[in-house]
Amino acid sequence: MTTAVDPLVAADPTAPVIGRRRAGPLLAVLPPLLVGVAGLLLWEMVVKLGRVAPYVLPAPSAIGEQLWQNRAVVWRTGLASGENALVGLLLGAAVALLAAMVAAWVTFLGEVSIPVAAALNALPIIALAPILNNMFESTSSVPRRLVVAIVVFFPVFVNALRGLREVDPIHRDLMASYAARGWTVTRLVRLPAALPFVFTGLRQASSLAVIAAVVAEYFGGLQNGLGSRITSAAANTAYPRAWAFVVGACVLGLVFYLAALLLERLVMPWRRV
């Protein structure tokens, strides 16, 4: 016999947007903004009054100044890193989704692959960067993108597989009562029911993609992204400038995360009713 499952709770890796308390847009933005500004002021004061050496922690005003002076380079290198992250993200996510569909289809593979994927995910994949760099020419963007793709693969795969495997027993009975089988059930029930899980994975993956794209550059290869600027500025003891590029990387990560969030809301209109 099947146990009754509350479909709302069962299909809910992320809290549903329904029922979440809604404040005005200003009220929602104001508190974190105030905290952020206060934090920056405190930082500035600690550095200035405490005479903290710039190589320990530069003041936000110094970082801001560097950011402005180097805005063209930050923009250019940010675009390069962003492109690497995006290509890697799309590649990794696509492969992960296909792999998850295959693993969900073949029951045995599904049983085996989750623990294996979890174990592999615990490995420091970024450590592959130097090896991959040596496999390709020094002018190639491929190694960084591959690192991103590999990093992205796991969260998307694990989440998507979980979503594809969990079918509401009532939905299963209903589809049986309609004499629907195989691909019809996958298309009409499994895939849409897995979407919230897939997007949970994609949101994690979007931030990881930027981190991987930036950090992969620390280990050589083509040096046209944010990562190489951070290392070279730090090597030249230009700490405020290094921090300015770190800020650029933060913004890039945020852009990716918000894009994933936006896509999620566009693709799943039923979750923001």
Binding site: M1, P7, I170, A176, A179, L188, P192, A193
Partner: protein, 260 residues
């Protein structure tokens, strides 16, 4: 013409293994065309199992299940029945209308035909104006009505309902019971209805099938004759007589414990 015939049906789960459970044994039941039959009994008496056997969602260990004159499997493939459960089980990602359209879509109905039929069904359950909403925007009672509209969408000759009103409040429940009776009467649908509630079984049914557990079996069949249901039916002596009969049958004794 009979809607459903069960002959010598038994169901054993995990046969030959450690967790062997005899869910049903020696079940014979015939549901006439247009008849409303309720299954009632304690938890574990196999009433849901019986319903699922009729729907060919599980297969009997022994005996035969015939639906609309065909083996249950063929009847399922031909979508001879509509089914509704305690949870509405709507598809979150489809609007109310597209939920109701799904069984039609799987039958290959044209877009226009689907839209027309869905509208007709939603009007029947009083939710026409919610066609464009998503299930999450509806209350539990409204979701259940959508589920019933979906079950009725292909105009099935047989309706299988597994405690469809179990999770609803008393007011909504009574209103939906009346709606269901009206719909079944107007479409001539035969219904097998699983419930825990004695008044619900008596109010809805032409016959109440009383079951008992360990092993699950039919112990009694109580015919109910209340005629046309209306405002006063729930207060009528016949209604209370029916309730008393079913209660006695459930207890398995002929004499009432407390003399009335």
């Amino acid at each position: 013409m009979t809607a459903v015939v069960l002959e010598g049906v038994s169901k054993v789960f995990n046969a030959g293994r450690a967790g062997e459970v005899t869910a049903l044994t020696g079940v014979d039941l015939t549901v006439a065309s247009g008849e409303f039959v309720s299954l009632i009994g304690p938890s574990g008496c196999g009433k849901s199992t019986l319903l699922r056997l009729v729907g060919d969602l599980i297969q009997p260990s022994a005996g035969t299940v015939t639906v609309a004159g065909k083996p249950a499997r063929t009847a399922r493939a031909d979508q001879e029945y509509g089914i509704a459960f305690q949870q509405a089980g709507l598809f979150d990602w489809r609007t109310v209308q597209r939920n109701v359209e799904l069984p039609l879509e799987l039958r290959g109905a044209s877009r226009k035909e689907r839209a027309e039929r869905a509208r007709e069904m939603l009007e029947l359950v009083g939710l026409a104006e919610f066609a464009g909403h998503y299930p999450a925007q509806l209350s539990g009672g409204m979701q259940q009505r959508v589920a019933i509209a979906r079950a009725l969408a292909v105009h099935p000759p047989l309706l299988l309902m597994d405690e469809p009103f179990g999770a609803l409040d008393e007011m909504t429940r009574e209103r939906l019971q009346d709606e269901l009776l009206r719909i079944c009467a107007s479409t001539g649908t035969s219904t097998i209805f699983v419930t825990h509630s004695i008044p619900e079984a008596v109010y809805l049914s032409d016959r109440v099938v009383v079951m008992s557990a360990r092993p699950g079996r039919i112990t009694d069949v109580v015919p109910i004759d209340l005629g046309e249901r209306g405002e006063t039916t729930r207060q009528s002596p016949g209604f209370f007589t029916g309730i008393t009969k079913v209660r006695k049958a459930l207890r398995g004794d002929a004499m009432p414990l407390v003399s009335a």
